[in-house]
Amino acid sequence: MQLESAIRTNSPEFRRRYAHNKALAAELKRRQETARHGRPARDLERLASHGKLLPRVRLERLLDSGTPFLELSTLAANMAYGGESPSASCITGIGVVSGREVMIHADDPTVKGGAWYPLTIKKIVRALDIAIENRLPVVHLCDSAGGQLQLQSALFPDKYMAGRIFRNQCLLSKMGVQQLAIVFGHCTAGGAYVPALSDYNVIVRGTGAVFLGGPPLVKAATGEVVSADELGGCDLHTRTSGTCDYPASSEAEAIVIGREVVAQWQRFPKWRLPEQPAESPQHDPDELYGIIPDDIKQAFEMREVIARLVDGSRFHEYKPAYGTTLVCGFAHLFGYRIGVLANNGILFNDSAIKGGHFIELCNQNATPLLFLQNITGYMVGREYEAAGITKDGAKMIMAQTCSHVPKLTVMCHGSFGAGNYGMCGRAFDGRLLFSWPNHQIAVMGGEQAANTLAEVKLRQLERTGESADPETIERIRKATLRAYEEQTSAYYSTSELWDDGILDPIDTRNALGVALSAACGAPGGAPGFGVFRF
């Protein structure tokens, strides 16, 4: 059934929202540009003087021309390390190389020689987790100075730190998912394991080197004086040690060889294929800017969003008369069948169990799930507790978590509290999760938190017999609000890699298309659910 649109594009509300969201999109674009390309000239010159290509040039040459590249977490670390590590010093994303969908991880030597910060490692581990979950082959473009020594305690010892990269590499290989590493620069210490644990690798003569200890370390350890090339360069590793497979006399040649290697990779049958040809939405995605509110507390009609994402704007709504604050239904995205759950308000008992049931239907129907979040939480209050809202919320979370079909999430507006859980927030193993620039996330809304904390403080003072003056209360309120606002923004979230990137709303359809195709490469675990508290 084709969705109708009820928006009035010339209303003041639409125009106000449009201007606001367009500005947010422009701001996003500006910040991404800076993160991707803003580098001191000195660093760019140094790279060029070594005959090296910029990492994004390497990337573009690697990719098949005329194909999309879905870059992930461009603004990782944008609010960390004083801005020292734009894009967390690396590029990750899903693209097409020699006709195969692959995950690409490229070190960025224009940022402190490509040294790995804690968030760099988190970003790389995330990329490899995505590769594992979706059975995506991986291409590594290696060029890193190694770990950022000053921050070593935050990037080395723990379970999900540097070691996890190499653990993930081994797992991918064991799963039969291919990996290629192209060594453009130095791969030192742990970094040496990236090419070593890749099934295939290419190394550039003169600039590429792989060694567990670099020349300074070797000199300090044994007194041996040796150049990087002699210690672990192309000819040593391709002719003598056999650590590297293909020598290349230039970066351009290395990329050509890399593409030829990928062309040898068997393509394994996907779990799901598109059922029908793709079809653009009937309604204009540009209107999304006018649909998204300019106030985090305001709700909006999610069907308008769905109508601008799915093929032909066609949506088969499930159980339309029941649990109306959660819109559920089937649609197609680039020909893939999907099940959509979208918030049109807070979750009540009925919307929660409708959601749980719909999730079960999608599992039965082998249909991937798309969660469009705008949730401030579940309904609270005595009446609802008595009706079992906690139980019903738990059932929805159980159904969502135990799903064996792939899940994708878009944070369209607010994501507060327990609502995040049921709607497949970060902790729930969605294959990919994206945010819009207007998105905010916290355990509860800023205003609400500020008010709650002020309320708590007030009661504290009442118990001790003091009374707080309105000014103190207001001060507490304002301070809480400020701290919250900084940490609830999409930019903070993306900086910490709580999402896989902020999307301009108009890019959502294409991003989901690429994501869905990748996700349909592999099924989830075995079907089955835990105990539903009925």
């Binding site: 040459r61 005329g66 090339d229 040649e253």
Partner: protein, 166 residues
């Protein structure tokens, strides 16, 4: 991924720009749509920008010969250079046309001045004597009198002058 091809000694960059609804390829600065392309057993039919063309083609190594409208084009497709060892172009002499070696005038290790004779080659009753372009030390002569060679074949290599950092 750009393809660098040579046609009539001109280098042209080719890149696939789009595949739907039709294949669209950029040649140099111009985009062309390609439809209804069928290539089989030496004959082809293709529609470029809506205009149909028919003709003949064959590929010998990396050379593609295409004949249409009474004209034969030779297109050189990109082929990855063999990675053996890096040799810079000024340190070696390659044959500019196929032929036979008539005489060898230098030997390995010889120290030559610019203008000294290297080889005399003959091709279809045309003789050509190669001389050193600058002072150089011969590393190796890769052909012998009466040996036959193809265009591009390595004839003489020179000792690479010691340079600084790699």
């Amino acid at each position: 991924m750009t393809y660098r091809v040579r046609i009539d000694e001109r280098e042209v960059e080719a890149e696939i720009v789009a595949r739907r609804p039709q294949l669209s390829v950029r040649l140099g600065g111009t985009r062309h749509t390609v439809a209804a392309s069928a290539l089989a057993e030496g004959e082809f039919a293709i529609a470029v920008d809506g205009v149909p063309h028919r003709g003949w083609y064959c590929t010998i190594g990396r050379d593609a010969y295409v004949r249409l409208a009474g004209r034969t084009y030779l297109v050189q497709l990109p082929g990855r250079a063999r990675e053996r060892g890096t040799t810079l172009s000024q340190d070696e002499i390659r044959a500019s046309m196929p032929g036979v070696v008539v005489a060898v005038h230098c030997e390995s290790g010889a120290s030559l001045s610019a203008g000294d004779k290297l080889l005399t080659l003959e091709s279809m009753k045309l003789q050509l004597t190669l001389v050193a372009a600058h002072d150089a030390v011969v590393e190796r002569v890769h052909v012998a009198p009466d040996s036959v060679f193809e265009r591009g074949a390595l004839l003489v290599s020179f000792v690479r002058p010691k340079s600084g950092e790699l």
